[in-house]
Symmetry: C2
Subunit: 199 residues, 2 copies
Amino acid sequence: MPKRVDHEERRRAIAEALWRIACARGLDGASLRDVAAEAGISLGQLQHYFSSRDELLVFALKHLGGLAEERIRRRLMGLSAPPSPRDVLRETVTEMLPLDEESRTGNLVQIAYFVRALHDERLRGHAKEGVPALRAFFADQVRAGIARGEVEPTRVPDAEAMLLIALTDGLTTYLLLEVCTPEEAKGLLEGHLERLFTP
Amino acid sequence: MPKRVDHEERRRAIAEALWRIACARGLDGASLRDVAAEAGISLGQLQHYFSSRDELLVFALKHLGGLAEERIRRRLMGLSAPPSPRDVLRETVTEMLPLDEESRTGNLVQIAYFVRALHDERLRGHAKEGVPALRAFFADQVRAGIARGEVEPTRVPDAEAMLLIALTDGLTTYLLLEVCTPEEAKGLLEGHLERLFTP
DNA sequence: TGTTTTCCAAGTCAGTTGTATGGCAATAAG
DNA sequence: CTTATTGCCATACAACTGACTTGGAAAACA
């Protein structure tokens, strides 16, 4: 065998270079040459790790989702154990918002994928595969809130979960457009949770 | 003077051809040649009406916003006069959702513009210029609800307005992704308004 | 009828795109 | 040493892009 190289590590580095380009110029504005240059490698080398553009796109999307999931997991780990359902929901939702540069980049790229998925059958599957899990997770928290008497039993957990996801997503949009401020977005979500959790 | 042609009418027709392409393949996938072919004219003719691609894009975006606004206006006209604030909000929000084919196309194109605006300074201004007006309109309705005793006075109209806009936007996203159904989206919005308007 | 203005088709051009190809360098196995 | 394998690279290519130029057709006025 010749020189040993960590393939996955290389692929991750290339994917992250793609994010930086896509964040600045959009997914369609990220040519393979640009990505290679951003990653500091040649076009040939990039092609050695991704045999086609689509392969790179799909890999980068999955890697992105993985990182976001890990960010949320780490944040939840930092909570005082055991955290209340309300804390879990607030922290998760806050972590999903584009409040720091890394998250902003992630959201920007995610949206670029979302738009492409609207016109691309195959990508659509990848793009929406994480939603049901997130929704179920949120619904579980609402159920736990009901069980603890913090949420009115008349609330429908699954509906509240979808509401919260959509709300977070919408606020993300307007945060990125700079139509509303981070403090405002956090305040709105906190207010929404405040009314969901009636003591 | 030579042959008289309605310039604006032509430009609108070309803009609508752009929408059809953008809806199917994304804004970046809509080349001038494709748009010309879709509009049934030659590339030269298209360039006679739009001297650059950007000019076409901006015109098409403004025309799109105008049409959406008129759709809402017409729908509100159809309400029994005088409509309650709750009715106004529900109907407006419902009209904004991608529930029929025309609205779906509009939303798809709007999102394509939104994504482009994230990376394009000039487009950003055009993209977010309608938001403050919509927000003020929603806030006025909430204020009217408070005045009529249908909304708790502790609610902050401006915050409720932003919440409603973000929620509608988020639901639009998941409707387009086919993660949730039209009935579900309408039900969620109705439930949200139900809790805002306490009899 | 001639003139002028508007409109439009076709072609060209420089630039960029994703992909394919052929080959070089380094390393490990035989 | 030989040889095969792997990592890597420069180049080439066909297709497509937006912008531009040229030339002429069509229609309203004089």
